[in-house]
Amino acid sequence: MPFAGLDVRRLFQDERANSQSMDPLRIVVAKPGLDGHDRGAKVVARALRDAGHEVIYTGLRRTPEEIVRIIEDEDASIIGLSSLSGAHGFLFPRVCELLKAAGLDDVVVFGGGIIPQSDRPALYDSGVRAIFGPGTPTDDFILFLNEVQERRVSNQPVGVGSSDGWHWG
C-alpha cells in the first residue's frame, strides 16, 4: 500500500490553506560556488512552491555575480543561498555586498546548509536574515516568510541593506 495512512484530500486542503496565507512571492534559490550537493536546495524550492510561491532555481555552481544578476532580472524579493562546501563565510557575505552595490537593498537573504553556529553571527552581520540547518521542518521557512512579510508591511527593516540586526531564530 504505497499511500497507507495518507489522506490525500486532507493534504490538498492543507496546501490550499497555506497558499492563501500570503500573496505569492518571487524567490530565487541559489547554489553559490563549487558545491554539487543540491538535495537541500531542491527540498526548500519544492516546499516554497507548495506554499504557493514562484521559485526560480539557479542550478549548481553559480558565482555571486550571476546570482545577483538573476535576482535583478527575475524581480525577486527573496533569495535563499545553499552551501555545503564550507565556503559560506565568503560566498554569503559576497552576495549581500553585491546586492547592496546593485541597489537591491530591499531583497531579503536567507541561507542554509552546513553552517556551524560559530560562523552564524558574522553572516547575520553581513545581512543574512535566517540560517536553516539540516533537519529543519519545511514549515519553518513559511513561518520565516510570514514574519518577513509582516515586517515589510509594518515598515520594519528586513532587507539586506538595512543595518538593523534583526534575524530569525
Binding site: 490550499r16 497558499s19 512552491r49 514562484e54 526560480i56 532555481y57 558565482t63 532580472d73 537591491l104 530591499d106
Partner: protein, 298 residues
C-alpha cells in the same frame, strides 16, 4: 505610483527607465504587466515588437540548453537578446518551480542577455496571459531579438505560434514524442525543426522520420536539422535557417487566427467583470449562458 525599493515613480517613469536600459526597471515592469496592472500594460501598448522566436518541444529534449546556446550566439554578434522561459504553475497551490536557468549556464552575466522565468499562473498549463505585453516590454527595453521557451507540444502550446514571428520545434533522438506534435498539428506550423542531442545514436534516423512525416503533409520545405546544443554542432546552420524563415501563407492564416483568439482571451481576463462573473457562477446566481452574455455585452 509604482516602486523599486524605496524609489516610487509613475508607470511612465518606470517605462522610460526601462527604455533607457535599467534592468531593474524592466524587471519590475514585467512583474507589473504579468500581475495585470493596466497602466503598465498601456505603457507598452504602442511599442513595435522586435523579431521573436518560439522554442517548443517535449520535456527533456534540451530546449533550455539550446535556448542558452542561441541567446549567447546572438549576444556574441552584438545583439541584445531577451529570453522568456515559461513553466507551469501548480493548479492546486498556485506555486511554480521555474528551473530553466539550471540549463542556461552560458548566458551567465552577459549584459546583452536578459532572462526572465514566467509562470503560467491562472492560464494553467497554457501560455501565460499578457505574454504579448511582456514581449512589448522587452522590445521597449531595446532588445534586438526575443526567444520564448515553452514546454510541451500539446493542443495548448500551439498558441506559441500566435505569439512569435517564427517557431522552432525541438525533439530528441529515439523519442517518438514528436507524434504528439503531429497530432496537435504543430509539426506543420513549425518554421524550423531540430533534433537535438545529435551526438547520440538515432538522431539522424529521428530526423529522417520527421522529414518523411512532413513529406506526407506536403510540408517538405520546412528545414529539419540535427544539432548538439551541448557540443555546439550544427548551430551555424540552425542560425541560418532561423534567420531565413520563409513566410508561408497557409501558416499565416492560422497564426492570425490564434493571435486574435489569444488577444480576445487576454482582454476578457483583464476585464473586472470576469472575476465577479466567475463568482456569480460559483454561487449559482447565474447560468453559463448568462455569464457569456454579461461578459460579451459591454
Amino acid at each position: 505610483m509604482v516602486g523599486i525599493g524605496d524609489d516610487s515613480m509613475t508607470n511612465s517613469e518606470l517605462a522610460s527607465q526601462a527604455a533607457a536600459g535599467s534592468r531593474r526597471a524592466l524587471a519590475r515592469l514585467l512583474t507589473l504587466i504579468q500581475d495585470g496592472e493596466s497602466e503598465s500594460i498601456e505603457s507598452v501598448a504602442n511599442i513595435e515588437n522586435v523579431k521573436s522566436i518560439g522554442i517548443t518541444g517535449p520535456p527533456g529534449v534540451g530546449k533550455s540548453c539550446l535556448t542558452d546556446c542561441l541567446a549567447s550566439f546572438w549576444a556574441g554578434k552584438g545583439e541584445r537578446v531577451g529570453v522568456l522561459c515559461i513553466d507551469p504553475s501548480s493548479p492546486i497551490t498556485g506555486g511554480s518551480l521555474l528551473g530553466d536557468r539550471m540549463r542556461m549556464e552560458q548566458s551567465g552575466v552577459d549584459d546583452r542577455i536578459f532572462i526572465r522565468s514566467v509562470a503560467t499562473r491562472s492560464s494553467f498549463g497554457a501560455l501565460p496571459f499578457r505574454l504579448k505585453a511582456m514581449i512589448s516590454a522587452l522590445s521597449l527595453a531595446g532588445m534586438d531579438r526575443i526567444l520564448i521557451e515553452t514546454v510541451g507540444v500539446g493542443q495548448t502550446e500551439i498558441g506559441i505560434v500566435s505569439m512569435t514571428d517564427s517557431v522552432l520545434l525541438v525533439d530528441g533522438p529515439d523519442r517518438g514524442d514528436i507524434v504528439q506534435a503531429e497530432k496537435a498539428g504543430l509539426l506543420e506550423l513549425a518554421d524550423v525543426i531540430v533534433v537535438n542531442k545529435g551526438d547520440l545514436d538515432g538522431a539522424e534516423q529521428a530526423a529522417a522520420n520527421i522529414r518523411s512525416g512532413l513529406a506526407l503533409g506536403n510540408s517538405e520545405s520546412i528545414p529539419v536539422l540535427v544539432v548538439s546544443a551541448l557540443n555546439k554542432i550544427g548551430i551555424d546552420e540552425l542560425i541560418y535557417a532561423l534567420e531565413n524563415v520563409q513566410v508561408r501563407s497557409s501558416v499565416e492564416e492560422i497564426r492570425w487566427r490564434h493571435r486574435l483568439t489569444s488577444a480576445l482571451l487576454d482582454q476578457i481576463h483583464s476585464d473586472s467583470k470576469f472575476d465577479s462573473t466567475v463568482n456569480d457562477l460559483v454561487e449559482g446566481r447565474i447560468a453559463l449562458e448568462q455569464a457569456i452574455q454579461i461578459i460579451l455585452n459591454e
